[in-house]
């Protein structure tokens, strides 16, 4: 019975945790882009947390004498409005800084909801199999085969426009990916010796699912979570742009773009900067995701 070894389970705690982390960081830092993305992301988190301290003005404060002022380096720009002002005389830089709070919040909440929901549903499908599995996977396939933005649009139509409802809709659309990943990993792990050993030792269904199997399926889930994070930010911005997400005057980047759209001919900066902010955030997260994938599992390929 000695060959019933618990090979892929987390090694002994204490010493190995630190070693694991340093090994992970070694592989992660091999990828220069990932490290850069990581620092940019960290900077964004700091900016979002310290927004009231850093921002020069209130995000919704209107300066009636300064409507559509260009950035400070352009002709007619003012130093008090570094990146210019929008059509209502609000400081662009302050709005962008406060907007980072929304984007990171959206990414975090959507990813968490999709991840937790997907893990639970995927565990149930992969662990119990049978008709439960068939029904769940059929429904997931339908959600996956459906235009995500269209589905989000329909859900927003049901729930009403607003940031919260947009987030629920996006989480629902992203969650099948987690279900599939978890289910696949659970099915691969379930028949391994260490699971059988735990079962023989008398572990219940819940313990088997969450304590024994789940910790060995985390690597692909973490990578998918970073992808979902950036997807959520992009989708929320698109919904905001359609007027179905965050509502004005919220300084959410997609909503800012929708509001500024008609001033595109007169003031390039009201359209350029929010888009650049989205681009930099999403790029940083994607870079981190790439690095995580390489560091956590060299065999794991983008699907």
């Amino acid at each position: 019975m000695t060959h019933l070894s618990a090979e892929p389970i987390t090694p002994l705690k204490g010493v190995s945790r630190k070693e694991q982390l340093s090994e992970f960081w070694y592989y992660f830092s091999e990828n220069r882009g990932a490290v850069m993305g990581f620092w940019v992301f960290l900077l964004l988190v700091v900016v979002a947390l310290l927004a009231p301290v850093i921002a020069p003005h209130q995000p919704n404060e209107q300066f009636r004498d300064a409507v559509l002022v260009p950035p400070f380096w352009a002709e007619g720009g003012r130093l008090s409005f570094l990146l210019g002002t929008d059509q209502l005389g609000r400081d662009m830089l302050s709005r962008l800084i406060y907007g980072s709070r929304y984007s990171l919040f959206i990414g975090l909440v959507v990813t968490t909801v999709a991840l937790v929901g997907g893990i639970i549903i995927g565990l149930i499908a992969g662990y119990f199999r049978g008709w439960v599995d068939t029904v769940i996977m059929r429904v997931m396939d339908i959600i996956l085969a459906f235009p995500s933005l269209l589905l989000a649009l329909v859900l927003v139509a049901v729930l009403g426009p607003g940031l919260m409802n947009a987030m629920i809709a996006i989480a629902l659309v992203l969650q099948p990916h987690f279900v599939r990943l978890t289910r696949g990993a659970v099915m691969a792990e379930k028949s391994r010796d260490y699971v059988v050993a735990a079962k023989v030792a008398g572990a219940g269904h819940l313990r088997l699912m969450f304590r024994t199997i789940l910790p060995n399926c985390t690597a692909p889930l973490i990578v998918q979570a970073t992808l979902s994070f950036s997807n959520a930010i992009l989708d929320a911005a698109a919904l905001g742009f359609l007027g179905m997400g965050a509502q004005p005057p919220t300084p959410e980047w997609g909503t800012m773009l929708a509001e500024a759209r008609e001033f595109i001919l007169r003031a390039w900066w009201v359209v350029t900067f929010p888009g650049l902010a989205i681009l930099v955030t999403v790029l940083a997260i994607n870079l981190v995701g790439d690095g995580l994938r390489d560091a956590l599992d060299p065999k794991l390929k983008r699907s």
């Binding site: 339908i142 235009p147 859900l155 139509a157 049901v158 742009f241 359209v271 929010p274 790029l283």
Partner: protein, 350 residues
Amino acid sequence: MSGRTEGGAKERGLSFRPKSYRMNRALRLIRRRLLGALPVLLIVVVGSFLLLEAAPGDAVDAYAVSLGGDAGMIAALREAWGLDGTPFARLTAYLWSLLHLDLGQSVAFSRPVLDVVLERLPNTLLLMGAATALSFALGSALGIVAGSRPGSFRDRFLSIGSLALYAVPGFWLGLVLVVIFTVQLRWLPLSGMETIASGKTGFGRALDIARHLVLPVASLGFLYLALYLRMMRAGMAEVWRMDFVLAGRARGLSRSRIVLRHVARNALLPLVTMLGLQSAGMLGGSVVIESLFAIPGLGRLAQEAVGARDTPLLIGIILVSAVLVIAVNLLVDIAYAMLDPRVGAGEAQA
């Protein structure tokens, strides 16, 4: 069989039988998929019907809010539009009329849903088709350029470029392109599908539509271009390590022959699968792009239907897009089965 010529008999010996076998396999695949698609469509229809049932307010409410009306008129409208009765009765009535290809009456347009949807569908198909062609052709070509020498300067340049492109929101790219090509350079029109009442016909009209579609297609397709480039490059990097590439080198084949015939060809297959998977995403992306460029397509229609609480129209759009996605995936699967004889053989037998 009796009508076959002498040439056909010669064919029979070599390529005719495998060919007919392939056709049979494709036909079986189609039959199987079509049967499998029916329950999916049923679930989609019933699901969206029940989902929209839960939405507060119906089309009559939206109508009354915008145009006013007393209680008697509202009740009469409900009856005329078939919005009275229990949800279950309405669902069965809807499914029954669906059997006769009747998708009901659009409330906002006062016309049959099918007519409205079919009127908008060609524009979306044109936009999606052009964006798919652009992204697939350019993406795989650039992927071959990047993947032919992994680690070289152009590989790193293209990889970083595609990563950046992959992070650009499509609607913002559209806005930026408008600023550059419409506002600054004045090369391309701002929005719409074609110049209204230009009186152009034939080739002139086609050219006019093409000019209008350049910016929407670019903003919709560039994201997928980046995706295909990355996939192609990753696939090629993997194939380079395979034994048959080494064997090809050992036999003294030229580098370009190895790159194109041996490496790229094998790396191309996953991209074909991706083509089908991405059709749904592209349909979603076209909602935003159509709204941005004021293109009268399916996506913009969906947005209008949401705004007007036009439930029959919205369900019709959902159904048609589901059919579209299933059809595209079926086409891709058939193409795949033709390209790779190993794929789908088991499924077709069943």
